[in-house]
Symmetry: C4
Subunit: 429 residues, 4 copies
């Protein structure tokens, strides 16, 4: 304590700049490193808290950023702690923590800027968090260091990499290309199978209109299903963590897209080819259409779709806002439109406007400025309401979308950056 | 004065940096702290204006920011006062005020930047202003410190918090959830009551088409109304300032949404169930539809809707601009369209285009790019005008909306920040 | 010369920082102030180029910004002149000019930033340029200082201010309000005069359908015209520069809006009330509709409309780009659409698509996403082209509009700033 | 080595600021300039690595930026290398390279900022890269220095400049104007030739409807074709590199636009004027319509169109994303819409919805909010899907377009800057 008091007349040399060490400073910043200095009983204890001490000039040396310290001194004098504009926000935070302050003591506006900055940088400083955040790829960093003792595991690792990392080897690229081709083929078959000409051709070949599938399209379908099943099974077998595997969104979609085929085959088998069930089988047609979600498998290979997925995950709050806006506006405008166009009419004729739910269709088509023209107001009051509805629709829809844009741009840059780093890492191996 | 003149050869030490104290400096900055220094008669008087004075080195010490002072010195020399880029704008303003200058002496562009910055930060530095600005929540900071002497007031305070702050306790959360559920139920009943099937069902039950309400929906309606009335009354009773309570927008909406039910019940009671009035009662239907505004009660619980409300309040000027743009464009285009499509036709047939107000409908539907297709120009001149109208509509509508976007983003961040702070405050209690 | 050589070993003290004065520096910056220093023959000559010279320490003093000079020294050493980030760009330019360099020696990217900055600030530093730039208001600064010797001119000045500056006095505000009311009344009369009910009413009063004007609307029209004529004449009489007055856009619109009435009255007078000419008088109806442009007179009183006007003036280049984009896209898409929908059809039936100009109507309505539904492609090739046309329309139209937005925001802030300054100036008078 | 060790106690003077030269510094930055200093055996060797050495004060002088070095010292101490905020990012990179570090050692966020900055500036620092990047103009800088020995080449150079640089001389401007006029004339002829009145006129003149070209339009067409052929041939003859010339996009368009005329003339000649082929000649009509691409020749003279071209080249990745988004959304929504509107209907009647490809037309027209109204869902499920489709269409389309906007703005500024520099260069010659 005695020694500490002697110190109070000394100077602090922070990064080459000298600051007088006044009792004032210690009083105003009670919890910081300086107050501990003051309590030091000996020189050796002192050196735990500073980098050097020059007894002659009575000077304490700190190898820290001088600008940051001058802002902290200003804080002690004027009571407002602000970010030093000439420093990186994160460096400044480091300095604050070193001197025993934390970010809560910053002015509100500076604190907000620091938060913003930390959000921006988070994914780059802790990339493993990002990986687990959207789980599109496997965390190779985490498991890469494992010791695969036997040959079998080495093989599994090779297969895993071939399937999960399209750029890891030539075989992986061929596999990825094949996968994309199979998706596209199955989509083309699905689309063409609904064309009238194709259907009549298939019907002619089979002699009746019993089935929507002609023979060749049925064959192609089976091959695609076979491929996807094999791919999905293999990827499941070689994955490290089976439990985590089935929870990944892209894998869930895989299963949802493959399962219906087997269910419909099973139903056909159980009920017989010509049973009543299959003819009018609404459920079977719906199941069959689930196959369209195979398209989302393309997300494995296109940066744009991955970005979209990540954006949707991050913007669920903004999506909800969009939904609430549209919902509230739809309810209010449709109720009033129904009243003005139908309810106030002594002899209501416009049967399109008879109920609020059917007026909702008009509202959503007008707010989004689509305007098919199947419904439109004809009364003067209804038209005024229509104008207000359209203009407020433009404003309302655009507001939350602005947020989604910003998030999309951010996600895109992140994924692009990571992808280019992965590539670079691959090349340097 | 003599002493002051001696001073003129001394140096100013501002935040560790030395500046020569020339008469020149004083001449150019006549109203500032320095000129007062110059007029000091003794050293004790001098110390009122500076932090320290070293007689030996003839040096005046100021514990202020050296960068800011160097900019002020530059002002004295070159006549242009600019913001120091390496400082927070608000800190710099503090320094200016200390030295006896004010922001009006800044260069115009710097002044604009300072204004902008102050606008950005205003709500954070003076949060109480913000609260009263949009009045969605009660000013707890202002009244929180009050001394509630008796138990009764303590109870009222608890009830008030339960109703006004959805996150304050478990009971408050249950209440908020119940409130949202009641709003949704009443909306669903309102919508379904207009469905033809439902109406015929209700009519079948009652034997005639006299009433639009079937028995169960009438019951649900009564329960909802009862709940809302009770909630509104309680909140009114426990509010601090009754006068301020009824002026808050959300409460006004509450009253507007509840009152019509009682009015219609009253009218029914006065005129009798089967009276002529009620059958064709246009006013009653309108009053009934007022209930749709209950939806706006959701704003209490959704950040997005609060943001929208705050945005609308702040952007009333931009809204007006949007209105003026649309109005002027509508008048000009509809007048010319009517002339080209109807007025110049020797034998006018297109009765849709007969008057300017009906042409307005076409203009608003075209400018917003809805395009129902119920009206469209057929003459060549009319089509050219139509193209111009559509393109200028896209430009005109988007211009003021850009401002509304920016305001929305700003409002969203503010409310989010405050909400997270409220939560944090709650947790730390 | 000899003296100069002695100098070469001295130091430069710029704003308190010392720089060695090497021959190297002079060699690399041959045209600057320093080389002139070097050529000085005596100390007195030397003091013309620097602020002070200390013979003892052989030091030259300059009261300039030390950071800027250190960047200039860096330029001499490394050959790249960059803006000092810690300074205002305009201050830095001042320093450059002082030392005898100009902005052309800056690195290209810094030069661009400086240009941008100067563009941003231009209007604020030279407000008189801005005034003459869009000419909505009279340049009071320029003429304000004139000496109006006699009372008559003082009166004229008062009237001029009353008419031109709506906020200058109570009388001016009343005048402005009256003017807005007259515009709105005349617009309402113009609109209602086309309503069928009103027309039949007017016709009933006059016994035939000869005139579109009923008696009361004719009266209101005359009063409005009288007011506008009087206002315009007075403003012309009290204006300083008659020639400049008639070239201002808002005055041109005034004249264009008033003149048609007198022309039509003249024509009626010359040809007689019942002449053949007036009955089918196409030109008269067109002239009458010119009156709609009175609405633009509102621009005098609404900041939003002034902003729009200024934006249109500044963005004529972007408007042209928009026009060229729309024109080129319209030509290409309409030609191909006509070919695909009509030209390739062996038995062409779709008469809507018969010619390229009529296909243009479809293209503009599709590109702007209006989609009335009066024309749409039916062939597969036409629909593919339609999809491409719509998507490229969205992209093409939005690109130049982005620029117009930015310009609008800029103009809005400028006018708002000026308007608030005018108000402030008025209050402080 | 011995000498190096003595050095370890000395100080480094970087740009006037002193730093202690500790062994610590060398240990942490092993590959840098400092470690080489440490290995120097003599003073002369030392001076290769620093600017000066003062034996007395044991001080090493470096004429470098002191701020940058202080950041490098901070790196050695705290292990995080960050950009100095008070310096231009590119200057800082220069400093890093001087001291023997490279940009890979920067923190990730700073590295990203540096990359961004370098991308922004790249085109300005290496203008020749930009030229070859989009190849609209010839690289005059590259070839400008060539020695054209004989007069013939001088002439060719003059002609080349006249054609390729519209602003280079009066003749060039006349040529450019003529070229634009010819393009516009040929477009007008092409458009009017499809007008019914014009066709009947032409048919009347020729006595039958054999040809779509009337005599005068045929003549104008031949003149235009002649002009374009001559221009294209001349420009080919005087170009330096014939191979590069035919690969430039604008020249490819030229050839594609001219060739069809000669092919059709050739076909007419071979098959005879009245042959069956020409009458129904679908291919000939398609070839004829290729002429519309002459419009793209205007890109030579309009900055806006050049910007568009450059944007499309740079944004091919974003365009692809847009395509993938639209494609995936179209497939999913059209499949489900077909199912809901047609597939689930026991007695399908809506023949518009019979196949997925025809439902695609509805999806693209709805997602872009055009909404012609030729197809719209009528079932409740279909309408819900329609609402989702429209809202997601608005979001999906806008996301990649945001990127295209930013790129367009960037391209526009670059081309404008270059164009103004070219003009300035021309004037100063």
């Amino acid at each position: 304590w005695l020694f500490g008091r002697l110190l109070s007349g000394c100077t602090l040399n922070v990064g080459g700049r000298r600051f007088p060490f006044t009792a004032d400073l210690v009083t105003h910043l009670p919890l910081s490193r300086l107050s501990r200095l003051n309590r030091c009983a000996s020189e050796s204890e002192l050196l735990e808290f500073c980098d050097d001490y020059d007894r002659e000039t009575n000077e304490l040396f700190f190898d820290r950023h001088s600008d940051a310290f001058s802002f902290i001194v200003a804080y002690a004098q004027h009571g407002a702690l602000r970010l030093a504009p000439s420093m990186c926000e994160l460096s400044f935070l480091n300095e604050l923590l070193y001197w025993g302050l934390d970010s809560a003591e910053l002015q509100t506006c500076c604190q907000r800027r620091l938060d913003q900055r930390m959000n921006d940088c988070y994914v780059h400083f802790f990339p493993e968090c990002r990986f687990s955040d959207y789980g599109l790829y496997y965390q190779k960093d985490q498991y890469g260091g494992r010791d695969f003792g036997n040959k079998c595991q080495g093989w599994m690792e090779t297969i895993r990499r071939t399937f999960e990392e399209p750029t890891s080897s030539l075989a992986a690229q061929v596999l990825a290309t094949l996968s994309v081709i199979f998706v596209i083929i199955s989509m083309v078959v699905l689309c063409t199978s609904t064309l009238p000409d194709w259907q009549s051709l298939g019907a002619a070949q089979q002699g009746d209109r019993r089935s929507h599938r002609s023979v060749p399209s049925g064959l192609v379908e089976s091959i695609c299903i076979g491929w996807f099943t094999a791919e999905c099974t293999l990827r499941f077998l070689v994955s490290y963590d089976k439990c985590e595997f089935v929870r990944r969104p892209l894998n869930v979609i895989d299963i949802l897209a493959i399962a219906p085929y087997y269910i419909s085959v099973l139903v056909s088998f159980l009920t017989g080819e010509d049973s009543e069930l299959q003819r009018a089988g609404v459920m079977l047609r719906v199941l069959r259409m689930m196959r369209i979600f195979w398209l989302i498998k393309l997300a494995r290979h296109f940066l744009g779709l991955q970005t979209l997925g990540l954006t949707l995950r991050r913007c669920y709050r903004e999506m909800l806002t969009l939904l609430v806006f549209v919902g509230v506006a739809m309810a209010i405008f449709s109720a009033w439109a129904q009243l003005l166009e139908y309810g106030l009419d002594p002899v209501p004729e416009a049967s399109d406007w008879a109920s609020i739910p059917s007026a909702c269709w008009w509202v959503i088509i007008s707010m989004t400025t689509v305007g098919y023209g199947d419904m439109y107001p004809v009364t003067v009051a209804g038209r005024v309401l229509g104008g207000v509805c359209v203009v407020s629709g433009i404003v309302l829809l655009a507001l939350p979308i602005t947020f989604i844009y910003h998030s999309f741009v951010q996600c895109y840059h992140e994924l692009k950056f990571q992808s280019s780093r992965d590539h670079a890492g691959l090349c340097s191996e």
